[in-house]
Symmetry: C2
Subunit: 410 residues, 2 copies
């Protein structure tokens, strides 16, 4: 087949036909100070006061423990949120990809750790360029990654921080033995433009273990593994200035570990349904601040309503969203299935329960057109489908912030 060069069929306007006047004005964001109940749906909504309380709660705990906080911006991809975190005392941010860091550097963030290995000539070139404008660092777990970074930074006379990623139990990236870590540290030291800054030690799977004691035990093992490799590197003449890792599920253990010097939590600002399913006992309880505003678009089928927010408005990889009602998870209604642009809402089945909630009248379903707030299952990939964040305070729209790093997965 030759390359198709389509003609203009009848259903296509010829090039001189009138096009709609100003298409994008049709998608104007909500007006500042407008009623949050009138937000066009689906929309990603942040309760700013709840988010600020979460930001301050974790920062306070970090300060008390004498541990630095470097929040993970992959959770939100939004420079305006990074600005709030830095204003409260964060030492910088993490990004997960090189391209994700670009809008943050452009917005003025001057200390970014890429908490990931970077492979590919264009990406290492981009990273070296960014290092001319901000204090940048990145992870390695292979000598060839170090060689590529050395070349790209040398080409533009950039200076770059390098962390050795170690595998403390997740078995994803990172070297597992002291010998491998020493070999990498030695290789980094061969390049004056690369600065060995320490260890990245992150265990993602542990963050989502439900039981408090199980997380505590895993965190202790992980920290002990990091301490052992850090000590071995020190003995070999490569002291680790920073040991960075941790997340929302393990932060309180990591703060107390005496091992981590820097914590990378991200979801704590938002508290998605997945993280909220963890069992928390200690100080670090966070509030839900992130919601999807949806509307009821069909009530035609008995015993359910259909929302206008489905797979294009959230990620369901960590479970379906919760319905949020009267400042708590709804005890009456549950989001039972997501299609591309539909969400099915049914009654919670209390049939096996002796709960008081089962007695009395059934709550009426929300009516056609009614706004319904959802707590997303997983905040990070949910932010990644929205171009903007509608920020509310006291039920009014206070700001509309660009999710500037949306789609930046290079």
């Amino acid at each position: 087949m030759t390359s198709p060069t389509p003609t203009h069929p009848a259903q296509f306007a010829s090039s001189d036909a009138a096009a709609p006047a100003s298409d994008h004005s049709l998608l104007a964001p909500p007006e500042i100070d407008s009623d949050a109940a009138a937000i066009e749906t689906p929309a990603l909504v942040l309760d700013l006061n709840a988010a600020m309380r979460n930001i301050r709660r974790l920062q306070h705990a970090a300060n008390k423990a004498g541990v630095k906080l470097r929040p993970h911006a992959k959770a939100h991809k939004c420079p305006d949120i990074a600005r709030l975190q830095l204003a409260e005392g964060a030492v910088g941010i993490c990004c997960q990809k090189v391209s994700e860091a670009i809008p943050f550097v452009a917005a003025g963030v001057r200390d970014i750790h890429i908490s990931n290995e970077i492979v590919g000539p264009q990406k290492v070139r981009q990273l070296a360029d960014l290092a001319l404008h901000a204090r940048m660092s990145v992870c390695v777990d292979h000598v060839s990654q170090i060689d590529a970074l050395a070349m790209s930074t040398d080409a533009v006379s950039a200076h770059l921080g390098v962390f050795i990623e170690i595998d403390i139990g997740q078995h994803r990236c990172g070297v597992a033995t002291l010998n491998e870590a020493v070999a990498l540290a030695k290789h980094i030291a061969a390049f004056p433009q690369l600065e060995f800054r320490g260890l990245q030690a992150y265990h993602g799977g542990m963050q989502h273990k439900r039981g408090f004691d199980e997380r505590k035990e895993m965190a202790a093992q992980a920290a002990s593994r990091a301490a052992e490799i850090a000590q071995g590197l020190r003995d070999a003449g490569y002291p680790c200035e920073t040991i960075t890792g941790g997340g929302t599920g393990s932060a309180e253990f990591d703060f107390a570990s005496g091992v981590f010097t820097e914590i990378q939590a991200g979801s704590y600002v938002f508290m998605d349904a997945d993280y909220a399913s963890n069992d928390y006992v200690g100080e670090l309880h966070f509030e839900h601040s992130l919601f999807i505003a949806a509307s009821v678009m069909s009530v035609a089928v008995q015993d359910q309503v259909v929302l206008d927010a489905g797979l294009k408005s959230m990620s369901v990889d960590s479970g379906l969203p919760w319905i949020w009602e009267n400042a708590q998870r709804s005890t009456s209604f549950t989001y039972t299935a997501a299609n591309d642009e539909h969400g099915i809402v049914r009654r919670v089945d209390h049939s096996g329960s002796t709960d008081d909630a089962t007695s009395g009248e059934l709550a009426p379903f929300p009516s056609l057109g009614a706004q319904v707030m959802l707590v997303p299952g997983h905040c990070d990939p949910t932010f990644n489908v929205y171009n903007r964040l509608v920020v509310i305070e006291q039920e009014r729209v206070a700001h509309v912030w660009p999710i500037a790093a949306r789609g930046m997965s290079w």
Copy 2:
């Protein structure tokens, strides 16, 4: 708490500090005619010749059956693909949301059916505006939706097609009884600017039933239900010019039904891993044309490699992606887990198998930096995370097309 007005902490550059020169040039798309093997990853990649064969195969079957094809643009959100479909004979396209239609109207598509109910004053206003520029239609399953459409179209003197959605077994949207359908048709007829065009009869769940016979049986029941209501409406004086529905999983049954006059398939162009798991017997076999180009970014952990494409580069709601190797699903490697920006690849476990594939040497893992092609689990929400589509022909980059309706879920 008062509204936080963050100061500029030390980690933020002051406003007069140098910002990176030209950030977005750093994210330039691949050059036309460059080698597909060098595409910056992750990237969404279309094999244009395979896509054209799929487009022509379904169009040919529609033509043969004397049924119209109105492909669903929610599958791709890309006006350039709609252009190809229309050039081959499609009568128009479907969109699933009003805002999704905007870039298609702007690109010149002049016949769009919104295959969904639309609720909310801004949305019905947008729809009326679009109806000034293109032949538009929409679904209803409640009288109040009709009232809102009547008001918005009246305000701008627009003319709008209206379909009654009927529930033919999915139990999502749509009315289930003839009485309800007649009441809606009667209400539509009260407004001269609204034109009753017929029935939308779609059964999403059926599309993904694996067994050919099971789909065939469900399709027959669904078509029979649609025929019954259409006949009842005709008897009541409301003839249905069009009965629209169907999808990639049911198209061949719908073509042969004698009931459907128009088919809305979308995924047939791409053939994601979910649809490819259906059992096909008839004529309509489609090829995989849509891929995610990923790269190996870590090989540090034994017996696996890690790709740079995870939950931010695909939707996993319908299962994890397949690894594509030598023009088929890999028999050696499997994508076992997705994190935000990581994908874990392990060997296929042949331990219980007596297959020839288990004999001989194990295939070596792809090396650090190697490109790996994936077949996404579900094409629609995967398109929704990418801003652009890299179109390849004979292993060269032929086009880079904007996914113009990405994120348009209003």
